[in-house]
């Protein structure tokens, strides 16, 4: 899949969101994008943090880079939520429901209040439309999942969750920039699945991979938190 390289101005204008729970890797990514001249760069320390950042962002990112192995929301699940619009809008939507106001007995008989309710309903409808548009915009942001794993089941899980690309660690500035270029130049496509699924990387597991890294069929056990992982 070919793509015209991004130029220096396009890179400078990018807004990148990186979701990574490891401090060392966040430092590395921060160094990379700073040296490349990216002016608008946001970091999130886990999936919840990323969803919060998307909720309040006035300027949505052009591309999101997500580590696969995070807790409590792993990269696959985070990608799914972004694609489906779950948890990416402000929770104030409850107040938009015009039915709440019209069900108030006091306002039903008050002419001025009826006018106000009609205006509220109109405003509410506009707000819902705007939020739907925002949700749609968020759900379309290109996503690159990266991981130390490169087995085919991880790549397929990333693709099925809605990622645009899968980037196997180690990361380097050139590799990251090339992958960002590819997803921005080829929107809506999953990039070169075959490139990551050579025979020595295959490790198919029964039942596929859902982002949980626990080994085999062992029952879930406590795994280290981000703070407990040495970094």
């Amino acid at each position: 899949m070919a793509a015209d390289p991004l130029n220096v101005q396009e890179v400078a204008d990018l807004h990148i969101l990186v979701v990574e729970d490891n401090q060392n890797m966040r430092t590395l990514m921060n160094t990379m994008v700073r040296m490349l001249g990216v002016e608008n760069y946001t970091q999130a320390i886990n999936g919840q943090d990323a969803l919060g950042a998307l909720q309040v962002a006035t300027d949505l990112p052009d591309v999101i880079l997500i580590d696969i192995k995070m807790e409590p929301v792993n990269g696959i699940e985070l990608t799914r939520r972004i694609r489906h619009g779950d948890d990416v809008l402000p929770s104030a939507t409850d107040n938009d429901d015009g039915d709440d106001k019209t069900s108030d007995d006091d306002t039903k008989n008050d002419e001025e209040d009826v006018v106000e309710v009609e205006e509220d309903a109109e405003w509410s409808e506009k707000r819902k439309t705007a939020m739907n548009e925002r949700q749609l915009a968020i759900s379309k942001i290109p996503i690159i999942i990266f991981s130390a794993y490169s087995e085919v089941d991880r790549v397929v899980a990333a693709r099925d969750a809605g990622a645009n690309d899968f980037l196997a660690k180690p990361l380097s500035p050139r590799i990251v920039l090339e992958h960002i270029t590819m997803v921005l130049r080829n929107p809506g496509e999953f990039i070169e699945l075959e490139a990551y699924t050579g025979p020595d990387r295959r490790r198919d597991r029964p039942g596929g991979f859902d982002g949980d890294d626990r080994r085999g069929d062992a029952p879930p056990t406590e795994t280290p938190s981000a703070d407990e992982k040495a970094c």
Binding site: L171, R174, R215, T223, P224, A230
Partner: protein
């Protein structure tokens, strides 16, 4: 992919900046090593300590992914062998625990800032042996 000259210059600068982060990352690997030691000590006491095994797997996984990005390719390669061995294990015993310790000790050698030719040869031979072992388990 060839970027415009200014971007190519910035890519080069970014690589250099990452090289400058290596000493700090090396310190964090020492912390990783101590955490690996703690988990191996727990497994010494109880070979069926699944929590220790899970934590050990998580540590090795992080090391594998991160070390390569900070230009410690041999650490990454040996961590990958360690990870493959952990995955291949059905049941731990004293002998296998000894092999896990060998991997831990080899990781420590690979973490050195500068490696001699002999050390590199030893590490590459170790990788071959470990892969062979994992395939047989």
């Amino acid at each position: 992919m060839q970027f415009d000259p200014e971007l190519e210059r910035r890519l080069q600068k970014a690589e250099e900046a990452i090289q400058a982060l290596k000493p700090e990352f090396a310190k964090s690997m020492e912390t990783d090593l101590r955490a690996i030691d703690d988990m191996l000590a727990r497994l010494d006491i109880d070979e069926n300590d699944n929590d220790a095994l899970d934590r050990l797997s998580a540590l090795i996984h992080e090391l594998k992914g991160n070390a390569g990005s900070f230009d410690f390719p041999l650490v990454s390669m040996i961590a990958e062998c360690f990870q493959a061995l952990l995955r291949a294990l059905n049941r731990l015993n004293k002998q296998l625990l000894g092999i896990l310790r060998d991997h831990r000790n080899t990781l420590e050698i690979a973490m050195k800032p500068a490696l001699s030719k002999d050390e590199r040869t030893h590490l590459n031979e170790f990788v071959q042996l470990s892969r062979h072992l994992s395939a047989r388990l």
